[in-house]
């Protein structure tokens, strides 16, 4: 398989811990011979710092609870033929120092109420439903390169994340910030979605270098109390206009000229290409002259399909399905870096 690589050259984050690590393969597809077939069992058997390679499968791995510092690497969230699926992903009080990438979470992500966890890295995942981050929440959160439906809510405890770097994501639903201090929201794309600040009385949350795409016959308005925008762009794909964003350096109702968005506000991983066309006004329009949007001018390799960064892929391109006894098995593979 030749993966549809969006950026030829990029840099990636290798999630390698300094402590001794074991790579544990997990595969629940029928007939597989991975180290583990059940992901929850694999987590139970894993030692802190272990890396779980969770192979793609037609069978959803189900509701998964992480209660220790581990790294979980899936295959892809939107590859045309292979995905690694989880229903609910729950992180409990002992789930600090956890990295999760390459998964499609078909339902919710929960951070359980209780002792706060820290150092959570979520990259290249597709969160199909809600991200509910309860008290005591997450301190130190990297949320990057994901497709996110809804993050947090106006409820008192559903948005308990602090010291968060929320960058280079595509939001399909709203994000609600409660503890706005030291939360960075930068270079995201919001498809008919907005940013809310549930505690605007304590100050503003600032959104930078992001693109808001609305689709309404009325006037699109992404402004909310306690939210300011720096060098963002809002565009109404429909016939309506768009109100100016509150803040500085913003661009109002100008088409960002994505390479391809299929003329809709639906995320279509195999069709959409959120690179900017050369004539886009979003180029060099950022806070420090960066590009707006998820690619950040090429400094970030956003992957529509959600392959984990830094993990190579291998694909058996051709193989004999029947081999005579003693005959060699001819196999052709294709492999590439992300």
């Amino acid at each position: 398989m030749k993966r549809n690589t969006l950026i030829n050259t990029c840099f990636f984050l290798a999630m390698v811990y300094a402590t001794a690590q074991n790579v544990i393969t997990v595969d629940n597809s029928i007939g597989s011979n991975a180290n583990e077939s059940d992901l929850q069992t694999a987590i139970s058997n894993a030692n802190p710092g272990d890396i779980l390679y969770v192979h793609p499968s037609e069978t959803n791995y189900g509701n998964i609870e992480i209660d220790k510092p581990i790294t979980m690497i899936g295959f892809s969230h939107s590859s045309a033929d292979k995905q690694t699926l989880i229903t609910d992903l729950t992180l409990t009080s002992n789930a600090s120092n956890v990295s999760v990438s390459g998964f499609r979470i078909t339902d919710d992500l929960f951070i359980t109420d209780g002792t706060p966890i820290s150092n959570l890295i979520l990259e290249d995942n597709y969160f199909s439903s809600s991200m509910v981050i309860n008290n005591g929440g997450v301190d130190n959160l990297v949320l990057r390169g994901n497709i996110i439906n809804t993050m947090g809510s106006s409820g008192a405890s559903a948005s308990s994340f602090t010291n968060a770097l929320i960058t280079n994501n595509i939001f399909l639903g709203n994000i609600t910030v409660r503890l706005h201090e030291s939360v960075t929201i930068k270079n995201n794309i919001f498809l008919t979605s907005e940013v809310f600040n549930s505690r605007d009385e304590t100050g503003n949350v600032t959104v930078q270098n992001s693109i808001f795409i609305a689709r309404t016959a009325g006037t699109a308005n992404a402004n909310n109390d306690g939210v300011t925008f720096e060098n963002c762009l809002i565009y109404n794909e429909s016939t309506g206009n768009a109100d100016a964003l509150v803040g500085t350096g913003n661009i109002v109702n100008v088409d960002p000229l994505f390479v391809e968005d299929n003329d809709n506000t639906i995320y279509e991983a195999l069709i959409d290409d959120y690179h900017l066309q050369n004539s886009s006004q979003a180029i060099s329009a950022g806070v420090n002259g960066e590009d707006l949007g998820v690619f950040d001018g090429g400094t970030f390799s956003f992957d529509n399909l959600g392959f984990p960064k830094g993990i190579p892929t291998v694909n058996i391109q051709a193989i004999s399905t029947t081999v005579a006894p003693g005959q060699n098995l001819n196999v052709i593979i294709t492999t590439s870096n992300q």
Partner: protein
């Protein structure tokens, strides 16, 4: 200094004759305070004073004030409290900055940052080293200090330090295992990979010795040079003696599958590249050198042949990639796919500047710069704006020296701009986001330069001229022959001409009008009243005429009667008693000379005009 507003009203019609004050100290007694000068008054007095506070320390103080009537009676004092404090200068510079990670070392003990010069308002970018930081989350703190030595509170942001590597690193290892439980990464049977730059298609002929007849699964995974393993890919196969023949016969560059049964389908594959081959026959003719295999499907079986190396000699195809040199976008390097990602006509395998920014990929720090970007020497985008971003509209002065010209500078992209308008060595600076205007400008050459906040390397300058109308200029030439005058006009769009009471209007710069009298009055104005008017008296005669006569003005014009043969003429003025009071050669212009009469006393004089052969005498009167 404090200002005091004092209001008083005394009965019995007594004036306020003295006022005194003292600050803080014990009452020195009436008449012993510091006097204040009192304005004239009639019983009531309201007056303000500026009282020096020099020498008073910061803090609370009391001001006591009392007044005295003209009869000598002192009022009780009035007292008010005021506060002395230093006022910080808002324009004082920010002269120091420091940063630290994670733990506050105390004010002044952080790592210093070099600041640009400023007037209390500064935006500046820094490159902060992170080499000492461990992988993981860190907080960056920054604070600044002003010229008074006061430190700001710090600002903080979260950063994540990770180990970064690039995607071009080779994939250096591969391994496979059959059926058994995963032996763990690095513990399976290794495969040798060809050299690559992070992407490769390769074939293997794996021995199946020891595998029993029946169904089996193969698992294959790879590892990058830095040690990161892929997830495995797997495929099922069957060991069966009924396996169809997967061998191939080679005849030069023609490959033929030996299995030849009705119903079989064939798909030819390239083993070295991921380029699909559009060949589905039993035989395949290789057009370029390479390694090929065939996938045969028959009756539910699918077999793949071994890969077979084929060398194709084509003198018109240097790199044997199947594309003739004249059509090859990289004729000396094998690239049968002809991939040209940047559509610059040069195949990717040859292209040493993939982003076409003029900086070779080997030294390009930003090798994926968007097309059309302006880049620095490292190949990274520098800030730029479209050439059409700024619009400068100028309006000239409405009239000479009205100083009411204007400029309007507009930007299509809203940013935090600073515009500096310079003229005659002076300049003024303005901040704006989309539009800034300048009014009351005098005529001249201006330069306006625009910078953008946070983009220290960006400056765009324009030169613009603020015009002013020309002064009204009229020159006339009398044509005695046809008794007309030709006027050359400048300085206006439209000219209004009044000649002997008759009005003419023209938009032309030259007009010829008839002269109907000996002495003709001319008045010309433009369409701007501020340009003034041109007035003249035009004399059309064959005789010498001096006018005005009598003369009360400082000069007298003498028309020589269409004698345009004179270039110069000598003029002498005598009193009636014969005393010469003036003798001067004068130039003749358009038949006229001009004689200054300011020094002549009132009286009657004889004007003599003569050249070598001609003499005229005229009596003139100075009034």
């Amino acid at each position: 200094m404090i200002c005091l507003l004092l209001f008083g009203s005394w009965a019995a019609a007594q004036n306020i004759s003295a006022i005194e004050y003292f600050i803080d100290i014990q009452d020195p007694g009436v008449g012993n305070g510091i006097p204040l000068a009192v304005n004239g008054n009639a019983q009531n007095l309201t007056q303000s004073f500026a009282i020096q506070t020099t020498g008073l320390v910061d803090g609370f103080h009391s001001l006591y004030v009392r007044s005295q009537t003209s009869t000598g009676n002192w009022s009780l004092y009035d007292r008010t409290v005021f506060y002395i404090t230093s006022i910080s200068d808002l324009t004082q510079s920010i002269n120091a900055a420091e940063f630290f990670f994670d733990q506050d070392p105390g004010i002044g003990n952080g790592m210093a940052l070099a600041l640009n010069s400023n007037n209390g308002d500064l935006t500046q970018s820094f490159t902060i080293p992170t080499t000492t930081l461990s992988e993981g989350f860190h907080s960056l703190y920054v604070r600044t200090r002003n010229n008074d030595g006061n430190w700001s509170l710090y600002d903080r942001t979260i950063v994540y330090i990770g180990a970064f590597t690039d995607t071009d690193q080779p994939i250096t290892a591969a391994e496979y295992f059959f059926d058994v439980a995963d032996p763990g990464v690095g513990n399976a049977t290794s495969l040798s990979l060809d050299q690559n730059n992070g992407e490769i298609t390769q074939s293997f002929a794996l021995t199946t010795t020891g595998l029993t007849a029946g169904n089996h699964t193969i698992y294959i995974r790879v590892r990058t040079e830095s040690g990161l393993w892929s997830l495995y890919d797997s495929a099922s196969f069957t060991i069966d003696s009924t396996a169809i023949d997967n061998t191939v016969t080679v005849n030069e560059n023609v490959l033929t599958a030996n299995f030849n049964t009705t119903g079989a389908s064939y798909k030819w594959l390239s083993c070295g590249t991921n380029v699909p081959l559009d060949a589905t026959g039993r035989s395949f003719t290789a057009t370029f050198s390479g390694s090929y295999a065939v996938e045969i499907t028959f009756n539910g079986q699918k077999v793949v042949s071994s890969c077979i190396d084929v060398t194709v000699i084509n003198p018109n195809d240097n790199d044997n990639d199947g594309v003739d040199n004249d059509m090859d976008n990289c004729p000396d390097k094998f690239n049968p796919d002809q991939v040209d990602s940047d559509n610059d006509g040069e195949g990717d395998v040859c292209d040493n500047d993939m982003d076409n920014d003029g900086v070779l990929d080997t030294i390009d720090v930003c090798p994926n710069t968007p097309e059309g970007s302006i880049v620095d020497f490292d190949g990274c985008p520098t800030f730029s704006l479209p050439p059409s971003n700024f619009t400068l509209k100028s309006t000239g002065e409405s009239c000479i020296e009205n100083d009411d010209g204007s400029l309007l500078l507009s930007a299509s992209i809203a940013l935090n701009y600073t515009a500096t308008l310079s003229f005659n060595g002076a300049s003024q600076t303005s901040s704006f986001t989309q539009e800034v205007g300048y009014t009351d400008l005098e005529a001249g050459d201006y330069q306006i330069c625009i910078t953008v906040s946070g983009q220290s390397d960006y400056e765009q300058c324009f030169s613009v001229f603020i015009p002013e109308p020309e002064p009204l200029s009229v020159s006339s030439k009398i044509n005695p022959t046809d008794k007309s005058i030709t006027l050359d006009l400048k300085g206006s769009q439209t000219y209004f001409i009044e000649l002997n009471g008759e009005n003419f209007r023209t938009n032309e710069q030259q007009i010829t009008l008839p002269l109907t009298k000996i002495e003709n009055t001319l008045n010309v104005t433009g369409d701007k009243g501020c340009q003034g008017s041109y007035q003249d008296i035009l004399v059309l005669s064959d005789h010498v005429v001096a006018y005005p006569n009598p003369v009360v003005q400082e000069s007298m014009s003498v028309y020589l009667g269409s004698r345009d043969e004179f270039k110069t003429i000598k003029a002498s003025v005598f009193t009636i008693s014969g005393t010469q009071v003036l003798e001067v050669p004068l130039p003749v212009k358009d038949g006229f000379i001009n004689i200054k009469t300011a020094h002549l006393s009132k009286g009657v004089y004889i004007l003599k005009l003569y050249n070598k052969t001609t003499l005229f005498n005229h009596k003139i009167v100075k009034q």
